[in-house]
């Protein structure tokens, strides 16, 4: 069983460009052993005098309990802000403080099932570990990868190695089908007789996938990405409205209760708001 998260002084093994992304491999002893598909790590930016206090969260692409170096964790990141830029500029042997594994991982089907994995952009990163775990349980795995352009796809070759079928979509048609992942899902659901769809990617994509899944009565699990200050459940910045088994909507933390949720439980339409019927929502006009 996976134990709780650790904080370890990690070390950069390598940083490689992959299309629009940086693939970062970190030596992070103790963490790899605990990783399950869907977990993420929170990386500190800079050293103890850094002005950038908040950790950055990244899905775990791969975790190896011991390679040549000891336990490693790999992430795939898109460099845009100060934190991701700093990480993408690391050199071999630089220090990076790692906290992980964090979050609630994907739930695996008890019995062999037909699983469709949908990744948007770098959102595909956590799906390959998931695919491995599903295959080990005898599941059928089909993969759909979508992105704006070819260089923003990640893991097409990985997917081909592991999946029954791989479908690629790009907004500009630079690779695969021109369009969105949801354009190809209905056909795939029928062809693969999909029981459960797993999705990770931008919020609008997750919403669309959950919608298609519901329409086709396919179970769905989505890994969301909300802005996080702590990643470990103590700050309450990363909440979104989620309906519980009791039918009550609560503002739940995506870093601990998530990032993986059942697709139908997330109130996508209300993300960024507190629905009036949410538990503890302000009553009347006062706030």
């Amino acid at each position: 069983m996976a134990a709780g998260p650790l904080q370890v002084k990690g070390e950069v093994i390598s940083v490689r460009r992959v299309g629009a992304y940086s693939h970062v491999t970190l030596l992070a002893p103790g963490i790899a052993e605990r990783v399950r598909p869907g977990h993420f790590v929170a990386l500190a930016v800079g050293d103890a005098t850094s002005s950038t206090l908040l950790r950055r969260s990244f899905s775990i692409y791969r975790a190896q309990e011991r390679g040549v170096y000891g336990g490693t964790v790999e992430v795939v990141l898109s460099a845009h802000g100060p934190g991701t830029r700093w990480l993408s500029e690391r050199r071999e042997r630089d220090a990076v403080d790692v906290v992980g594994p964090l979050g609630t991982p994907f739930t695996l089907p008890r019995d062999p099932a037909s699983c469709t994995l949908v990744g948007g952009g770098y959102g595909s990163a956590p799906l390959f570990g998931l695919a491995d775990a599903l295959r080990q349980r005898g599941c059928r795995v089909d993969v759909v990868l979508g992105a704006a352009t070819e260089e923003r796809l990640f893991g097409v070759l990985d997917a081909k190695r592991i999946a029954q079928s791989v479908t690629v979509t790009t907004d500009d048609g630079s690779m695969g089908v021109r369009g969105r992942v949801t354009d190809v899902l209905p056909a795939l659901f029928e062809r693969a007789e999909t029981d459960v769809v797993y999705a990770c990617g931008p919020m609008p994509m997750l919403r669309a996938v959950a919608g298609v899944a519901a329409a086709y009565e396919v179970a769905s699990q989505v890994a969301v990405e909300e802005a996080m200050a702590c990643g470990i459940g103590v700050c309450m910045t990363c909440v979104l409205p989620v309906v519980g088994d009791d039918g009550v909507t609560r503002m739940v933390r995506s870093c601990t209760e998530g990032p993986v949720f059942r697709g139908e439980s997330v109130r996508f339409d209300a993300v960024g708001t507190v629905p009036a019927d949410a538990y503890g929502a302000p009553q009347g006009s006062g706030h």
Partner: protein, 312 residues
């Protein structure tokens, strides 16, 4: 090894390191990183009477050496605290400082009353977070007015078991923090916690809108440490006998030492926990070493030490 024992009024603590309200939830999550019993105290997220959903997201923005937050006191309410969290914290060996909040004087009193129902010995002290808008007075923040601050503190003090010390948590966003401190002590506060966040704002230069759904938010982290040191200094100079729980921007043992030298008997680590989940125990170790290196036999000797010779 310096003697690290300290106390906040009648609350004895084995050491001066605490978490900060809202930066450690109810303790469970941090307990995965270190035993809560290693700390002097755990300060809970502020609780109100009823469950609260908090504000819409975005609730945070990063700023240079700090962050802005606007959580809106999301939580399950005081009853859940008393029933679930306090027994758990007690079992974990933590000394718990319960932070309470209210939207009216009455709510402070009601929340404090419910805290009395906690298991015996599970509440080391109560911190009264007065940085809340008073719904009955045009949303003016209690902490910004000496009378309102005093009323909130008084309501909580009266409702609470007299054996439990009350700390009033002050906002730095005032012209004269000493006046507010005096008012709170006059209203029965046994000690003071300083400081809450500094009111700030970030505008998202992509959306061209306020970055937080709540528009303004509370600035915290090392950026505000000099403000915390100044507030502790001013209040300790004016009220040297009132114990102070110092908070604001502590990242290292030397930061904690600054607050202690300014007059704090104990120190909370807030935002820096987000950077370093084990910061409270690290800061404790560093503070201990710093005291030793400076020849202090005890923490108590260092409290307010920077004032000596400067008293007027």
């Amino acid at each position: 090894m310096a003697d690290l024992q300290t106390s906040l009024a009648s609350a004895w603590l084995p050491n001066p390191l605490a978490t900060a309200s809202g930066c450690a939830a109810m303790g469970r999550e941090l307990a995965r990183f270190f035993p809560l019993s290693d700390l002097g105290a755990v300060v809970t997220k502020s609780v109100m009477l009823a469950p609260r959903s908090g504000r819409p997201t975005p609730r945070m923005a990063e700023t240079p050496s700090g962050m802005l937050n606007s959580i809106g006191l999301q939580g399950s309410g005081v009853d859940a605290l008393v029933e679930h969290d306090l027994p758990w914290l007690q079992a974990a060996g933590a000394r718990t400082i319960v932070s309470i909040a209210g939207g009216s004087i009455e709510e402070y009193a009601l929340v404090a009353e419910r805290v009395n129902l906690a298991p015996p010995g599970s509440v080391a002290a109560v911190e009264v977070n007065i940085s809340c808008p008073n719904v009955e007075d045009r949303g003016l923040v209690f902490a910004c007015d000496p009378m309102a601050a005093a009323s909130a503190v008084h309501a909580a003090r009266r409702a609470l078991d007299p054996s439990v010390p009350v700390l009033a948590k002050l906002s730095p966003d005032v012209t004269d923090i000493v006046a507010i401190a005096r008012a709170c002590v006059g209203a029965g506060a046994d000690g003071l916690t300083m400081i809450n966040t500094v009111l700030g704002m970030v505008i998202d230069t992509d959306t061209l809108r306020p970055a937080l759904a709540g528009i303004t938010g509370g600035l915290s982290g090392p950026a505000i440490r000099p403000v915390a040191v100044r507030c502790v200094w001013q209040v300790h100079a004016a009220l040297p006998d009132v114990p102070i729980l110092g908070v604001g921007g502590v990242r290292t043992g030397l930061d904690a030492l600054q607050l202690v030298l300014a007059g704090a008997s104990a120190v909370s680590v807030g935002t820096v926990v987000f950077n370093d989940p084990t910061a409270p125990v690290r800061v404790l170790r560093e503070l201990d070493e710093a005291l030793d290196a400076r020849g202090f036999d005890s923490l108590a000797q260092a409290v307010g030490y920077a004032h000596r010779g400067l008293e007027v």
